[in-house]
Amino acid sequence: MLSYEGVPAPLAHLIEQLSGLPGIGPKSAMRLGLNLLAKEPTQVQQLASALAELHQSMGFCEVCGCFSEHNHCLICNDHRRDHRVICVVEQPVDVLMLERSKTFSGVYHVLHGRLSPMDGVGESQLTFAALAMRLAQKDVAELILATSATVDGEATAHYISQRFHAVPGVNISRIARGVPEGGELEYVDEYTLARALSQRTRWQGSGTNVL
């Protein structure tokens, strides 16, 4: 922690607040603070109002749990999307990442974490109840489990499949793992390669295999 001796109190307060942000140390915070001080007051006020509005106007979608400005997110409100296919992810940021691929036309369900008793996260901390309600109320054909490929992510996927496999008409699938697109084999670690080999798929002509 830097000492802010000689720094006026309002600036020191700002620096302290900024240095609490991820990836920003005390020195970067001081640079940002001085930069803000050098800007036009109107520009800084715009930033301040954006910050103040963030929590007032932003929230999570009541249906899927993703970021939303109103009660429902844009994805859940979009009737062109296939609401019969639900992709289950751990965090809202995963939705943004999957949306970047522009290939998925279904909807999402955000768990807001993954099962991990060591971190005090059990089933009651995650949004399994909301998912159960969605499956009960809507006609869902497929549940895609897109939790991370870690032990905890695997366990979460396992739990979902165990809990919802008996729901009639719902197919449960898991995202594939293996060699990344455009990746050279020489840079892939041994475990990923071993897994990619053991979970290889039948050649379909174009090199892709659809479930």
Partner: protein, 366 residues
């Protein structure tokens, strides 16, 4: 790949010392406390970055000195210079003048197998020590299994935590299923490895012409269909104990001599021979999987062996295609037919094909 020369400066009891080596068997003879093991320790430090004696860095430096230096001249496709410089605080290793930062591939590039009665308690040690050895060998032969094992341990810790906080049985079942899924892969691979080791051991015993029968056995309670049920049944006792009782993390590796525990019936000499046979089998396996024969280092390798067994051992080591460094306080007769280079600490005795020549290469220990 082999070591051509070892130079030591201010290392342990050596002020200045060197040991020129040949590709086959190299024997270092010297009285107790003369610093024989220090040569093997120097090679170990150069490869692993720490001592096998678990001692702190200050103890490695010669009395009243500030720094020590180890220089190893290897020959692979060309000469390789591996240097260790250390003081009382830390150790810096360089290969061809470049600082070594990544250890993972380095251990595969410079494979060594080390055995010492003082430090690596293989037969006398606990089942835990032997399991660690087997796990380390498994991960060296099949590196992807290390990741599986780490995942298995994570699932096991999650289960223990879930048990402690009385999570619902469905939740416990999730972690138990994860443990079984990964644990079965590990158990099967371990059994396959044990089978391979036992095959190699049978070959070794034939080579050593030793009329003894022994094999490694893993006590696994977890390969049956019932493993998941066993975990379910053990929930209360596991919670009470605070640990999971069965699984690949708790396998017991025992060495059976005519079907019984080797420690209870085999003589010290037989135990020593078995230990060396296991090390040779380990070398053969690492050669099979890693495609390079390790440097075999046997500290006090002739301990408890009579002259017949010594001769058998020399015969076998003479056939080993890699390099062998062996230390001993005394040796009876090497045999003229064997190509073994021996050195004596204090004054060097070089015996090649039985022809003895003397040179003062190594300084008497301080």
């Amino acid at each position: 790949m082999f070591v051509q020369h070892i130079f030591l400066k201010n290392f342990r009891c050596h002020k200045h010392a060197s040991w020129p080596l040949q590709q086959g068997v190299n024997l270092l003879i010297g009285p107790n406390g003369s610093g024989k093991t220090s040569f093997l320790e120097a090679v170990f430090i150069a490869v692993y970055g720490h001592s096998f004696r678990q001692s702190k860095t200050p103890d490695l430096v010669h009395f009243n000195e500030e720094e020590f230096q180890i220089d190893l001249q290897w020959l692979r496709y060309g000469p390789l210079h591996l240097q260790v410089k250390g003081n009382k605080k830390n150790i810096i290793r360089t290969l061809q003048g470049k600082k070594i930062t990544i250890k993972k591939d380095f251990l595969r590039s410079f494979p060594i197998v080390f055995d010492s009665t003082v430090t690596s308690r293989f037969i006398d040690g606990t089942p835990n020590d032997r399991r660690k050895w087997l796990d380390a060998l498994l991960f060296l032969c099949k590196p992807h299994l290390k990741h599986v094992y780490q995942n298995y341990l994570r699932a096991m810790m999650q289960r223990q935590r879930a048990l402690r906080y009385n999570h619902h049985r469905d939740m416990l079942l999730i972690w138990e299923s994860q443990m079984v899924e990964m644990g079965k892969v590990l158990s099967l691979e371990k059994i396959q490895l044990i089978e391979k080791i036992n095959e190699k051991l049978a070959d070794e015993m034939l080579c050593l012409n030793a009329n003894v029968q022994f094999e490694l056995a893993v006590d696994q309670n977890n390969l049956n269909e019932d493993w998941l049920n066993q975990l379910k049944n053990n929930r209360d006792s596991d919670k009470k104990l605070g640990r999971t009782q069965f699984g690949p993390h708790a396998d017991k590796l025992s060495i059976l001599f005519y079907g019984k525990d080797i420690r209870s019936i085999a003589s010290r000499g037989q135990q020593k021979l078995v230990t060396i046979a296991i090390r040779l089998a380990e070398c053969a396996l690492r050669d099979y999987y890693q495609k390079s024969l390790p440097l075999l280092m046997l500290d006090d390798g002739l301990e408890s062996l009579d002259s017949d067994y010594q001769y058998l051992l020399f015969q076998r080591l003479n056939l080993y295609l890699g390099q062998v460094l062996l230390t001993t306080p005394s040796v009876r007769d090497i045999g003229d037919d064997l190509r073994i280079q021996s050195y004596t600490i204090g004054e060097s005795v070089s015996a090649v094909d039985g022809n003895v020549k003397r040179s003062s290469i190594m300084e008497r220990a301080a």
